[in-house]
């Protein structure tokens, strides 16, 4: 091998690595600098309200991540506070998706029924969900039942209305083709209506995801809850335990980020064929 053949790819690789390094630096350095400044500022001011990030990270480790590696470093405390919150949210969101898509497709394909229900649905959508939580406290049992009801009642509307909208605007030609091929009702839904509505459905699910996260925390902040991250927040607030308060907030941010990433990955997988997906759903 001559020196020339060696250096050419090496140089290119070096260039690429350099560019990559610059890219990483460009992307993450500002965040690192910000955290460093925050650390310095909070240490200097020594305000009880703003603990330094290192202290928050330490508290987070003590609270939830001191477990064995086999449990993803999660400890028992994490199981007591994170798990109930996530279980309630996951259950409610799953129920919303199933009910919202099924009802949405039914309503979208039947203009008459939709006309009867539209004012009620639109009104239910615009009610700010927290106002209904006191009602659910009266109607349901304290705790999980009330929380699940609050999450479902707030997160189902965007999915339902978006699905109905998507199902209503299926291309006429596609429906006519499906008819010409004598597809059964189920096949029509499975192969024509559902795929055509998917971009809208995902737009609705994305809204529902952030709403359900909001309502999950909100419903746990109210008196009468005994577990969950929201409960940990109120508990820390009443004891003026600010590092814990900050830790829960950071953890919720991380969880929100994870959920969003997962949803985006699922969406990309399902909508790969849909060129205009990014356009239709903001």
């Amino acid at each position: 091998m001559t020196a020339a053949t060696l250096t050419a790819p090496a140089a290119r690789r070096g260039g690429r690595a350099g560019r990559l390094a610059r890219g990483v630096l460009h992307r993450w350095l500002p965040l690192a600098v910000l955290i460093a400044c925050w650390e310095a500022a909070t240490r200097a001011s020594d305000s009880p309200f703003f603990p330094p990030p290192s202290k928050i990270a330490e508290r987070m480790r003590d609270l939830w991540f001191s477990g064995p590696p086999s449990h993803l470093f999660l400890n028992a405390e994490a199981g007591d506070s994170i798990a109930p919150s996530l279980a309630r949210m996951a259950f409610s969101l799953a129920a919303c998706v199933v009910a919202g898509v099924v009802l949405g497709i039914a309503l979208g394909r039947s203009e008459r029924v939709l006309a009867y229900l539209e004012p009620l649905l639109q009104f239910a959508r615009v009610i700010p969900p927290p106002t209904l939580v006191p009602v659910f406290i009266v109607l349901f049992e304290f705790g999980t039942q009330m929380q699940v009801a609050s999450i479902i009642f707030s997160a189902i509307w965007p999915i339902l209305l978006n699905t109905a909208d998507g199902a209503r605007s299926v291309d006429q030609m596609q429906m006519a083709t499906a008819e010409a091929f004598r597809l059964s009702a189920f096949e029509r839904i499975r192969f024509v209506i559902l795929p055509a509505s998917l971009p809208k459905i995902f737009a609705g699910v994305r809204l529902a995801l952030s709403l359900s996260l909001i309502l999950m925390v909100f419903s746990e902040l109210l008196p009468g809850t005994t577990d969950g991250l929201g409960f940990e927040l109120t508990n820390a607030q009443s004891q003026s335990d600010l590092p814990t308060l900050w830790s829960v907030i950071v953890l919720l941010g991380i969880l929100g980020y994870l959920f969003n990433t997962i949803l985006l990955a699922v969406e990309r997988r399902f909508l790969r064929w849909h060129r205009g997906a990014r356009k239709a759903d903001q």
Binding site: L31, E118, I127, P134, G166, I249, V250
Partner: protein
């Protein structure tokens, strides 16, 4: 694409209205029948007539109207500040890629924090009332406006920008004359999304704050009173009406201002 063929088949506009009214009437009567027949406990779920009656009664109640005004003030202040912060920021991030890459990680880190989780912290640091409500609303509402502004800038026709540039207009001029107007429909969608989030936050913080004024406070207090469900539901009806009026006004304004824009067809709902 599928959404270019919205079929306005079948029902006429009055037909739609009549059916909608019928739907509301059926719900109304059903709740009335269930309540009066004693199938549902009236103190748990009062019949619709008594809720609407109470809601109308509240319309003449000056303390209640004061509460509504407090909530709306927080809403409006929060929205104005959020728009004033996020639109310029979105323009900056959307038009200068270097800044965008640099700030991206920070934004991605801050955005997913659910705003209600900040309520206990804001309560300790900022106290209560508008002092605490407005910053929370600003925080929560900035994201949809910021992201829609950036998204709108992505969508600007490059030919239009090049044309202006070749006529000798500077960067700022191009931004203000081409990019901002063509991003405006997206910004409006962001503002509409933010408006409902702002209302959620305004009412939510009031419900949790424990004292002070506002529609949320009214609902929270009614919720703890014996037999207060009627007041809670009347307050909820009011909150829903506020949401409906805000949403309708913004949708109408969008339709009127951006009739020319294709984003209307494929835009968010």
């Amino acid at each position: 694409m599928a959404n270019q063929t919205t079929p306005p088949r079948g029902l006429s506009r009055p037909g739609k209205w009549a059916r909608g009214a019928a739907g509301v009437a059926v719900l109304f009567l059903a709740s009335e029948a269930l309540g009066r027949a004693g199938i549902v406990d009236r103190s748990y779920l009062p019949p619709a007539s008594s809720i609407t009656g109470r809601a109308l009664e509240l319309f003449g109640d000056t303390t209640f109207l004061f509460n509504v005004r407090v909530t709306l003030t927080a809403w409006a202040l929060g929205m104005l500040l959020a728009i004033a912060i996020s639109v310029p920021l979105g323009l900056l991030l959307g038009s200068v890629p270097a800044v965008n890459t640099a700030v991206r990680a920070i934004v991605e880190f801050l955005r997913p924090i659910p705003s209600v989780a900040l309520i206990p912290l804001a309560g300790l640091v900022l106290g209560s009332g508008l002092n605490m409500e407005v910053p929370l609303i600003v925080y929560a509402c900035s994201w949809p406006i910021l992201f829609n502004t950036m998204y709108g800038l992505d969508d600007v026709d490059p030919t239009a920008k090049e044309t202006l540039r070749s006529f000798g207009f500077g960067r700022i001029q191009v931004l203000l004359r081409v990019s901002l107007p063509s991003a405006a429909p997206f910004i409006a969608t962001g503002v509409r999304l933010a408006a409902s989030i702002a209302l959620i936050l305004a009412v939510g913080t009031e419900i949790l704050s424990g004292f002070g004024d506002g529609l949320g406070m009214f609902i929270a207090q009614a919720g703890t009173a014996p037999d207060g469900t009627r007041d809670v539901l009347a307050g909820t009806l009011w909150a829903g009406c506020l949401g409906l009026v805000i949403d309708t006004l913004l949708v109408q304004a969008e339709n009127r201002a951006f009739r020319w824009h294709k984003a209307q067809r494929s835009g968010a709902s």
